[in-house]
Symmetry: C2
Subunit: 381 residues, 2 copies
DNA sequence: ATATCGAGTTACAACGTTTGAATAAGGGTG
DNA sequence: CACCCTTATTCAAACGTTGTAACTCGATAT
């Protein structure tokens, strides 16, 4: 072992992290051999067992860790996946994030999470970053994202595999995983109908959200099937808002509006759980009890739905699972992109996966009150 | 312009992303010149204005973006900061995260967020990843982190600048930013005392959390100062739990226990907001009204505190701000580490910053009831 | 004796960027 | 005209990895 062969390494004792060269020197083999062994490449099979052992020991002794930058540069694989959420403070997002992270991890990929806060400049910035970092894929949690559809279109160009969660997007390239909103709306309405409610109020979500219309359609279908008429007087529309947490006050406002209109109702379908919590507040102020006087159903099943008093009956989106499904799909896309490389550019047709919702019965719904029409006190008589 | 000089570039039309060489070829200057100009290096001043313009135009035309991997490799700066949270689904974390992200962004640093889920193997994994990715700094949101203190100690070794949020850590290297829990406890207790409450119950937090004891101490101090005795019968202890969201059920259980003991009380200091929401539930079940019968104070001021019915009076931690402060401090550490390089290793003494809390008055507290001692119905008579 | 082989191992050229040193062309000055 | 000083520009060597091509060195076949 000629120790003075690499004066730079032995001389420079400003203790840098060990590199392949360090391990090579320590073990007495070449850099190539070390790389082969530590990556368990097929070629490493042709190295003698003893060599492999010595290299591994040396690496362990030095606590060697490959440099991700060098590796990405050389292998053109960043091991990074960009994840864009519209607002990380929204509980809706975090569960999906957990699903994404859990699925990415065994694949050896690291998520780069970015909160774009519904701002299109942040959106641009993130796209730029994603390209610079050479992310291998992109996941966008987009249900409450108000960025113009056109900006999303930009994804298609750069050719990076991408998946959307919570929003359908007409594209030949980008797939979507989202809840079956129509079915969810149906479930919610059916639940109230089964409990005997006939006067059902509805708080429709903001118009810019795809979800709003679909849930509403599902509710209508269920009502029609049961031969129940939905009184237009009992339907209110939430205003547009860029902040999902505003749902609470919007829900309270909408409910007060309903009460003001004076039309009696015993059931209330809120756009989502935050809306429902706002409704709870408004009803509480008005002095009517849930579920004794009025039953409320939410949507999403965010963790807080369980914490409300009374806890919310809601339509579960299985958010974590949706994150998992989207990520699994993305992993497939990434693998495909890696494979064909320059061969037949098989574009792996985009698909849209509607995730089945499930009704979660909790305390905010109950049988229709027997006395009178069960309207709140303020409306009786 | 000799087009065939670089056959590799012009021949290989499997359209890769443009590199410096591409821009160089297009503009007719050297790679060095392009690099100099695009990075606005001092040396670029010596290039003619015309040259600079042409290079910039070429880069823009090609939509050139530097490759982060190559750049990190060469410059030994990853532009990455590792951010560890104990549970990304905890609203406590997400606000801090927003503060971190907002502060990191103008500094050109990208956070790598990792949810370690209170598991020590995840913790290890993250540390490994952070080293591989050569993160320039580390932020740990650690208030509800149960990893043994020893594992945290490992941070000190690797020499990466680090900051903790929400937990004090005896270290000469790692700084902490956390709420002044004692002051917070004091504020909460004083608030109830000012409202006239004399029989105040307390739900103490899990023993493993530093926060628990300190808040308790602050409460005691305030009580003593006012000459009010805290009845041990009115103090309950939350069990240990690795899941912060469990706080809700633990809070409900603790409150039921308080009611069971039969000692009348009109005020209740909960460990945190989730605990308080659990208390709300238990009191609701027991048929007593908040704040008419009993006043409740939470801690943290998570967004959901506002959404409760009634909304929670609580002690605000200014979570976003704490994230910002910790990050700013970390940026300083990083800059220092970059500067001295091999010169005097000035270790930038670790500091502990106690963030001042603030009482937020909402609906869950009110004046002590006049009738009787204001005990819940079940306890009266 | 030489050609052939395969097992074991290594040299070397990338990947895209940065940067100190080097070069080339003017433009005075002695 | 040899000198040095700007000004404008490029060279070439890294950074740590990876993977292909090539090299040794015995052993076996010709």
């Amino acid at each position: 072992m000629k120790l003075s062969v690499r004066p730079k390494l032995s001389g420079n004792n400003a203790q840098r992290r060990p590199t392949l060269a360090t391990v090579a020197e320590a073990s007495g083999f070449s850099v190539s051999a070390v790389s082969l062994v530590l990556n368990d490449r097929p070629l490493a099979r042709s190295l003698s067992a003893d060599t492999r052992k010595r290299i591994q020991q040396a690496a362990a002794a030095l606590n060697y860790r490959p440099d991700a930058a060098a590796r990405s540069l050389r292998s053109r694989r960043s091991q990074l996946v960009g994840v864009m959420v519209f607002d990380i403070a929204d509980p809706y997002c975090t569960l999906i994030l957990q699903g994404i992270q859990a699925t990415l991890q065994p694949a050896g990929l690291l998520p780069i999470i970015m909160d774009v806060h519904n701002q299109s400049d942040q959106f641009e910035r993130f796209l730029g970053l994603a390209v610079e970092r050479q992310v291998e894929g992109l996941i966008v949690v987009a249900n409450w994202l108000f960025v113009e559809i056109d900006t999303l279109r930009r994804f298609e160009r750069n050719g990076i595999p991408a998946a959307l969660v919570g929003r359908e997007f007409p594209s030949s390239v980008i797939s979507s995983v989202l809840i079956d909103n129509e079915e969810g709306g149906r479930l919610a309405m059916e639940h109230l109908l089964e409990l005997g409610h006939r006067n059902v109020a509805v708080i429709r979500g903001p118009r810019q959200l795809q979800d709003s219309d679909r849930r509403w359609r599902g509710m209508q279908i269920a009502a029609r099937a049961a031969g129940v008429r939905l009184d237009p007087q009992l339907v209110v529309q939430m205003p547009e808002s860029a902040d999902p947490l505003q749902g609470h006050v919007a829900g309270a406002d909408a409910t007060r509006e309903l009460l003001r209109r004076g039309k009696p109702f015993t059931g209330l379908l809120a756009f989502d759980d935050l809306t429902a919590s706002g409704a709870l507040r408004a009803l509480y102020e008005a002095g009517c009890r849930v579920p004794e006087d009025i039953s409320i159903v939410g949507f999403d099943d965010i963790p807080q739905a369980m914490l409300n008093t009374p806890s919310l009956t809601t339509v579960s989106q299985h958010l974590r699972q949706m994150g998992e499904v989207a990520t699994e799909h993305l992993l497939g896309l990434i693998a495909a992109a890696q494979d064909n490389g320059s061969s037949a550019a098989k574009p792996a047709k985009a698909f849209i996966r509607l995730h089945p919702p499930a009704l979660v019965r909790r305390e905010s719904t109950g049988p229709v009150p027997k006395i009178a029409v069960g309207t709140p006190k303020v409306l009786r008589g």
